[in-house]
Symmetry: C2
Subunit: 330 residues, 2 copies
């Protein structure tokens, strides 16, 4: 046995899965091992790949399984966190009712924690990332969709139906006037602030824009592969006024989500992660400005608005952190 407890964190996504061994202080012992998920090959092969990814991560860390205290695994929703069950996530079709936690626990004979991937990433940022040292933190993850996680005193708010921290589906506009969300409802934060919807809004804004000529118009007929949220943020940073408007609106919508987090759990920190945070401080301070303008004055005077610091490592680090919480609770 190693002197210090060590944990494997496995973060399963729809395209790839990543795992690494993480020390008791949150430091990964190697770069993560990455393998293709290939969900279309079925869940039995998926479980086998998970076990193989874990084995390779242990080897990459230069340790043996005997040195591992506990294992954590995280998957995208829909899952049943208490039961350790993948139910039927759209990103892992056609998997259904996969008892992932118990399978891995049996395969390795180790205590195994299961968590939703966005919750795990939030816990990673809370434990050793942007939220290190905070008592409570809410994370919004900005990608193709908008996800989230809520941590209070090292406890993940999992929810009674494993839907705690589904912050992309906080509604920021009434259903009768709100934008259509992929979930079927209208007015969800995700329908405004996901990378996909930032681009959609830019396309819409072009139609009525009468301000200075915008380089965004060059992308009017571009495919979604060429016309990304990054293009918009880069043009905004270069001073393009239409692009600035789209980014400014994005900050406003995200701030409305942050205000809802404050009115419910009133965290010490609100952290934003994902591709858009590459834009940096000018974008963060726009969000902060809107939070202070539209949030409850007393808590938003003090709440810290920050960007995530672990990048795409937050998932496996946080998942290892969940394994650590499990080991410490025993």
């Amino acid at each position: 046995m190693a002197d210090q407890a060590q944990f494997v964190g496995l973060d399963v996504g729809g395209t790839t899965m990543k795992a690494a061994v993480v020390a008791d202080d949150g430091r990964p012992l190697s770069k993560p091992v990455v393998m293709d998920t290939n969900p279309e090959r079925g869940q039995d092969e998926g479980l086998a790949t998970m076990c193989e990814t874990i084995r390779r991560a242990v080897a990459a860390a230069g340790i043996t399984l005997a040195d591992v205290t506990a294992i954590g695994v995280a998957t995208p929703g829909l899952g049943d966190i208490r039961k350790g069950l993948i139910i039927d996530p759209p990103n892992l079709k056609p998997w259904k009712n996969v008892p992932v936690r118990d399978h891995i626990a049996r395969a390795f004979g180790k205590p195994t924690a299961y968590q939703n991937d966005a919750n795990a990433a939030a816990y990673g940022e809370f434990w050793v990332g942007a939220g290190r040292g905070a008592k409570s933190m809410v994370l919004f993850t900005l990608g193709t969709g908008v996800g989230g996680g809520i941590i209070i005193d090292h406890k993940i708010i999992e929810g009674e139906h494993s839907h705690g921290g589904e912050l992309g589906h906080l509604r920021i506009a009434m259903p009768d006037v709100g934008r259509q969300c992929g979930c079927g409802a209208r007015g969800c934060l995700e329908a405004y602030a996901s990378a996909t919807n930032v681009v959609r809004r830019a396309r819409e804004d072009m139609a009525w824009w009468r301000g200075p000529a915008s380089r965004l118009r060059d992308y009017y007929t571009a495919t979604d592969e060429d016309f990304t949220a990054k293009v918009i943020f880069d043009l905004a940073a270069a001073g393009d006024e239409l692009a600035l408007k789209v980014v400014d609106d994005t900050a406003y919508y995200l701030a409305l989500g942050a205000c809802a987090a404050t009115a419910t759990v009133d965290p010490e920190m609100i952290v934003f992660g994902g591709g858009m945070v590459a834009a940096g401080e000018w974008f963060r301070s726009k969000i902060e400005g809107y939070v202070k303008r539209f949030g409850l004055p007393y808590p938003t005077k003090s709440v810290k608005i920050a960007f995530a610091s672990l990048g795409s490592d937050a998932g496996f680090i946080g998942t290892a952190g969940c394994a650590r919480l499990l080991a410490h609770s025993k």
Copy 2:
């Protein structure tokens, strides 16, 4: 000492304060003692009245102070829950920075818990009211304003800045189109669903209503004392179509608040308390219908929507419950 632990719960409001001794199983040992708060007489007199109310409650229970294990006190916001401090609540003007917890602890030589009044009421309903047996519960209290509290596993979500569960200020419409709230912002749930705003909306709806003649018009020039939310709910129950529309809209707005509770903490139960719940099952089922229609499908399929069961006793019972939590944590 009595065989069973016993707790005093003191619920301080802007007009009156109430206290009673509550047994370890949540049963009050007497009707609550009620005294006038008279905040305008200053905080020293206020603290003296609190102590006197506690003494009378102990006497009313037929026990002595020696039989009391711990004391709980709750006040309306703004307070600092961790520090046990009343900061400057609009309902307790001109009180400022009152160290209420330490004052009572010293006066009686008992462990003393301090809590926000809506949080305490939520804990009361969770402990022995509508939420008894649930793992997690969110309470919306409907009165002159809209308040709330969030309980997860017997823990009150107090928030880092004592603003956890400020559910009246969950925003249900964007600031540019939302109704004006008393807090200064626009679009808050309270600006739609407080008793005051239910009446305001009824007055506004009269202006454009072209449906069947409504008895609400009799109240067009009535004062707010005569034209109450109760009048509207009673007329709706009697089949008045305009009144029904106002009530139906209220259920819709409350459901949007409930959806936000689900997307953040995903509780097992969402409970509504306050005057309007006297309307009964038909109003509850309207709210439930909108929650299922506009909320995330998976959690709202199972979330229980209920009305509070302790009435105005929830405050002092829950406050005594906070004293009990404090005693059990020692």
